[in-house]
């Protein structure tokens, strides 16, 4: 069994999660988190096998590549070169012929062989106006080597078959760059070892490119592995499958067959045996139909189906579905129960990319292998959800997901009835198999020098199979002005208790060495340090926290986590590029040393505040900390209006806050005589020559004397939502800047809308405004464009209108870290203790680490320079095709829904055909009558009304089916 498990890991082991930070050492939901990259293939029980890839280039004598400024035909290229070389007396040159199919097309380079007087010829060549540069021709050599460290000979994977197979690789056949050898696909797949990227033909089958055939030849075809596919079912007599053990239906439709093709496709990628081959054709398939043909599913169906999977002792369970509701406790608990019962769960990470913070449940769980998608050019597929999970927020820093990425774009798999089809989406998930890890024992770390302090916190028992190991790294005081790179490793020893069915018997221990490499910069000045308040941003809860932009009706919930690595990623990157250092506060305001930071940034906060926090913040600001608040709307009438009935949970959803929790914010800032209003405004305007869009924000109701207040003309969106009337309001105060009067006191900036710095639904960004506000708060430089603006108004006193009150009967206390239920109004809980880290005792190495150790670490560590991060900068505002009330429902990630198309087209085709036939018929009838009455004259007027008539008949029809 264990060997078989190794095999499946090897199938997909060619990728590692690409998104990561240097100091992050993720919790290991797979037992071997770091060694899974292309240069070191370590399987759990055969760690003595290391595959090395050598890469070398050498210059080819007398051959030079002449690059042109554009694409030219072969004849033009030849003319350019000969004209360039005419002046020199170089006679002994020739163009090296390249006989390949591309030679018929224009090219931008030529290979020239120059035998004599090369130097002067090259200089002349470079002077030619059409020639960009001349470089020597290089030959690239790659070789694969197997090194056998051979310390542990008794390991179960030290099997002769494995050895033989790898021996054949060791022949280190040099691969010429031009030839695309069959075997190169897998080992070169990351493309990280070459300065130039190999261009590969788009492969036909994903099993081929991941070299499953190598393992098939060794006899690993998945036989004896029970694979469960939770999807839309499978037809009984599909020709691709030979070992369908059982099909069960858990839906209310009385059929076992797949009506959509999604389930068939997924089953095909796993186990198809002909045409488009799957990975494990001999595996035993258990088909669970948990989705109806209308893509409806309920948590309760899953609960029952999962129970059955546990009873049937399933080995690998593939769930190509996901939803945002990770607070669906019954479902989440059941997934933990499954993995505790040794079911390996693989799930698609979701198709909500490229927005960050869109990971779907259950793939974002620690005990589930979350699979993201890449295309066949090794780029992260655009649709693949990304970011980090919001599970552990606000504690810690966040956890990197997906665990693994593999081909998910244009993959071929089984078609509904027969044949193959191509699909894209993270649903093209694959069975990756993980081993078992139970009890964590001890660890030490070896930093290079003693410039960093490392603290490690971990779950005392890793059960079931997963737990966290959090590594916190801090720079020691003595290195405050030091700059450089510190590296070392954290060694983890995992001990698993003896089990009756294990062959070895007795306790098993395994050791994992996690390389850590951190770049240390001198402590930045206070003005450059920004603290992002995460504690008061609520992550996606089971309660209803409505969207921040009321226009986005198809995405009712604010579910991206509001973190600098999720939907505020663009803002974070902007701040970093402006030279600011941003840190995340995951604890109450009472838990940070304000003298270290210039500005506290609070954006779109939904949480309440402890009374102690309010007093602490006031003291901090008197002592020079500055505060920037981006608020959002809060209007109780609108909140009552946007409630909705959720079909899936069959209850009314009433918002628990508005876009932000304005009453709580007002409590926080009331000491300075400031407050936000319950107005709800929307509109375009220009501020300091920048186009701005105010998307459902509030206004400033009160502001102290002496502050700078900017007002704009906006539409009253509250009136529009409540009464469908349009009204324009002039002089709505949207921005306020204030210098606190105390000696050395900090500054406060308020803005009424957070949408322009949030990645989701953003239409026009206002990072310039954030820059201006930071200039003001950090350096006390008031932006002249604002202070001398014609839109500057006197600070509002706000005495004419009452301040917004909390919505009567809201249930915020259910999700809040601050409030707790109480008779009458909810009351704040006692202030929690600040997190405390106990710094581990270091075992420092010498400053100059032994060279062998250093090399070893280089092999393992994630080299951030070369990791290709997905390029996602330009994208349009997100529109997510989800209905309101998606909470209890599980949607098949959107990109892979051809079924919906097929189905609706299927329904509409007869209607269209019928109407079309009628139109054609009437046309002929008209022609006939016309021919009878006036045979000679053509009247163009006849046609137009007929065309109109035709349109009248068709437009309502197309209006019925807007999705096609």
């Amino acid at each position: 069994m264990i060997i078989r498990l190794c095999l499946l890991v090897a199938f997909l082991g060619g990728r590692l999660p690409l998104v990561g930070t240097e100091e992050d050492s993720g919790p290991f939901s797979t037992p071997f988190p770091s060694p899974l990259n292309a240069d070191a293939l370590l399987s759990p029980n055969c760690s003595q096998l290391t595959l090395k890839l050598d890469f070398s280039t050498k210059v080819v004598k007398h051959e030079y590549i002449v690059a042109f400024n554009g694409y030219f035909t072969a004849k033009a290229r030849s003319d350019f070169i000969s004209s360039a070389l005419r002046d020199v007396d170089a006679v002994n040159w020739r163009i090296v012929r390249r006989d390949n199919p591309a030679s018929d097309y224009p090219s931008d380079f030529e290979v020239v062989e120059i035998r004599q007087d090369a130097r002067s010829s090259l200089l002349t060549l470079q002077d030619h106006p059409y020639i960009k540069r001349v470089t020597p021709q290089r030959m690239v050599l790659r070789s694969l080597k197997l090194t056998d460290s051979g310390t542990d000979g008794a390991s179960p994977c030290n099997d002769t078959r494995w050895m033989q197979k790898w021996q054949s690789w060791q022949s280190s056949r040099p691969l010429r760059r031009t030839s695309l050898s069959l075997g190169s696909g897998f080992w070169h797949a990351t493309g990280r070892h070459s300065s130039r990227r190999l261009l590969r033909a788009i492969p036909r089958h994903v099993a081929q490119i991941l070299q499953a055939d190598v393992l098939w030849q060794m006899g690993y075809t998945g036989s004896g592995v029970k694979v469960a596919v939770f999807d839309t079912g499978l037809s009984e007599k599909h020709p691709h499958f030979k070992n369908v053990k059982e099909r069960t239906n858990w839906t209310n439709e009385k059929t076992l067959d797949d009506g959509l093709g999604h389930g068939t496709f997924v089953a095909g990628v796993i186990a198809s045996m002909r045409e488009c081959q799957g990975f494990a054709p001999d595996s035993e398939l258990h088909i669970f139909r948990v989705f109806t043909n209308n893509q409806v599913s309920y948590t309760s169906w899953f609960l029952d189906a999962f129970n059955y999977a546990i009873l049937k002792k399933i080995d690998v369970l593939n769930l190509s579905i996901g939803g945002p509701d990770f607070m669906d406790h019954p479902f989440v608990d059941k997934v933990w129960e499954l993995t505790a019962n040794k079911v390996i769960m693989v799930s698609a990470i979701g198709n909500d990319g490229p927005l960050y913070g869109t990971l779907n449940n259950p793939a974002d769980q620690m005990d589930v292998i979350g699979v993201g998608g890449i295309d066949f050019e090794d780029n992260i597929a655009r649709f693949s959800s990304r970011g980090m999970t919001t599970w552990e927020l606000p504690g810690g820093y966040g956890r990197v997901k997906p665990d693994i990425v593999t081909y998910g774009s244009g993959v071929r798999g089984s078609g509904l009835k027969e044949g193959c089809r191509s699909l894209s989406g993270t649903s093209v998930a694959s069975p990756v198999v993980a081993g078992a890890v139970t009890l964590l024992a001890r660890f030490n770390y070896v930093p290079n020098g003693d410039y960093v302090d490392v603290a490690v916190s971990y779950s005392p028992v890793l059960w079931p199979w997963a737990g966290y190991l959090a590594v916190s790294i801090s720079v020691a005081k003595k290195a405050a002005s030091w700059e450089g790179i510190a590296q070392g490793h954290v060694m983890v020893t995992v001990a698993s208790p003896a089990e009756n069915d294990s062959e070895i018997g007795g306790e098993m221990t395994s050791t994992v060495k996690l390389p850590v490499k951190v770049k240390i910069v001198p402590t930045p000045p206070r003005s450059k340090r920004i603290l992002w308040d995460q504690y008061h941003n609520l992550r996606y809860p089971p309660g209803y926290f409505p969207r921040d932009n009321l226009r986005m009706k198809n995405d009712p919930l604010d579910w991206n986590g509001d973190h600098i690595h999720t939907n505020f990623r663009d803002m974070y990157q902007h701040l970093r590029s402006m030279g600011y250092f941003v840190e995340v506060l995951g604890a109450p305001i009472t838990c940070f040393d304000a003298s270290q930071y210039g500005t506290l940034l609070m954006v779109d906060s939904e949480e309440e505040y402890f009374p102690e926090e309010i007093t602490k913040l006031r003291r901090d600001i008197d002592n020079g900390l500055s505060l920037i608040i981006f608020s959002d709307w809060y209007n109780t009438s609108v909140m009552r209006k946007v409630k909705f009935y959720d079909e899936n949970t069959r209850q009314w959803w009433m918002p628990d806050t508005g876009g932000a929790n304005v009453p709580a914010l007002n409590d926080l800032i009331s000491v300075w005589g400031m407050a936000f209003s319950d107005g709800l405004y929307e509109g375009d305007f220009t501020m300091s020559d920048h186009e701005m869009y105010y998307a459902s924000g509030c206004s400033i109701a009160r502001f102290p004397e002496g502050g700078i207040v900017i007002a704009q003309t906006l539409k009253d969106q509250g009136l529009e939502v409540l009464k469908q009337e349009t009204a324009v309001v002039e002089n709505v105060p949207v921005l306020g800047l204030y210098q606190t009067p105390s000696e050395g006191g900090g500054r406060i900036a308020l803005y009424g809308d957070s949408n322009c710095i949030d990645d989701s639904h953003r239409q026009k960004d206002c990072f310039w405004l954030l820059d201006a506000l930071l200039q003001y708060t950090s350096y006390s430089m008031s932006p002249p464009s604002l202070t001398h603006s014609k839109n500057r108004v006197a600070p509002p006193t706000g005495t004419d209108r009452p301040l917004p009150q909390r919505l009567e009967g809201n249930h915020l206390y259910r999700y809040s870290k601050v409030l707790e239920a109480h008779l009458g109004a909810p009351k704040p809980r006692p202030l929690p203790a600040c997190p405390h880290l106990s710094w581990a005792k270091p075992q420092p190495l010498n400053e100059t680490a032994p060279s062998n150790l250093w090399k070893h670490q280089k092999l393992l560590s994630v080299d951030m320079d070369k990791v290709v991060l997905p390029d996602v900068r330009p994208y349009r505002p997100q529109v997510r095709p989800l209905s309101p009330g998606e909470s209890g429902a599980w949607d098949i990630p959107g990109g892979i829904m051809p079924g919906r198309y097929n189905q609706e087209v299927g329904q509409t085709i007869p209607m269209f055909a019928f109407l079309g036939a009628m139109v054609v018929l009437s046309f002929f009838v008209v022609q006939l009558t016309k021919a009878k009455s006036k045979p000679k004259r053509r009247k163009p007027r006849v046609k137009r009304p007929l065309y109109l008539q035709q349109q009248q008949q068709q437009t309502p029809q197309s209006g019925k089916n807007p999705t096609v």
Binding site: T248, W250, N252, Y298, T299, S300, W301, L303, D304, N307, Y308, I310, L311, K312, D325, M327, D328, H329, P330, F331, D333, K334, E337, A340, N341, K342, V461, W463, P464, P497, A498, E499, N500, G505, P542, E647, N648, T649, R650, Q651, S887, G888, Q907, M911, F914, L915, M918, S922, T929, K930, K934, K939, R941, V942, P945, L946, Q953, P956, Q957, K960
Partner: protein
């Protein structure tokens, strides 16, 4: 002119009217079908999961071995999933550290005890899964379980026709299931959600 005259023709008007009528009827019917069907289906979902009073029987094949708790066996199955506690097939609950290599609880360990119903309420729902299984394995629970199997809803047919003995039945019966939830995403009773009895957990207001 021709067109205007044409429009006045009765049969042309007839065709236009007929087309409109067909379109109206088809779209209305389609809407009715899908709307009505949805509602009907939701109702059917619910009834699928509720026990029926009719004579519907699922073909269960469980063999209850009475008095099996005293027999000696060399290998035990156990409940596998517990973080701290485990129940073996003889009904002993013990801490993980007291589990023997053969999968059985060490009966001599102070933490081990047999057939305990700790944390279980009168309606047969417990707050700790392992105690639910242990309690369910009591020999006197057999009539209760048989009665449940005879009345089990259609939705559980797959599961309960596949279980083979008393231990498997108790493992499966105690798990949370579609019976344990309200509004799909909340437990009916988060405190006592593992039930060996016939009735679902008591519905607590959220």
């Amino acid at each position: 002119m021709v067109f205007r005259r044409l429009l006045r023709k009765r049969w042309v008007l007839g065709v236009v009217f007929g087309l409109s009528l067909i379109y109206f009827l088809s779209s209305t019917l389609k809407h009715l079908c899908s709307g009505g069907g949805q509602e009907e289906r939701t109702i059917r979902d619910r009834t699928l999961l509720e026990a029926r009073d009719s004579d519907h029987h699922i073909q269960w094949k469980i063999k209850f071995i009475l008095g099996n708790s005293s027999r000696q066996i060399s290998q035990c199955r156990n409940s596998i999933q517990g973080k701290r506690l485990l129940t073996d097939e003889l009904g002993y609950v013990c801490e993980r550290k007291d589990l023997l290599v053969n999968g059985c609880c060490n009966v001599n360990a102070p933490s081990s005890s047999q057939h305990v119903c700790k944390s279980c309420l009168a309606n047969g729902c417990c707050s700790i899964y392992e105690y639910c299984v242990s309690c369910c394995l009591q020999p006197d629970k057999q009539p209760l379980l048989e009665r449940f199997l005879n009345r089990a809803a259609e939705g559980f047919q797959n599961l309960f026709t596949a279980v083979e003995d008393h231990f498997e039945l108790c493992l499966a019966k105690c798990r949370t299931s579609s019976q344990s939830v309200q509004h799909e995403n909340t437990y009916r009773n988060p405190q006592a959600k593992y039930c060996y009895g016939e009735s679902p957990p008591e519905l607590l207001p959220i």
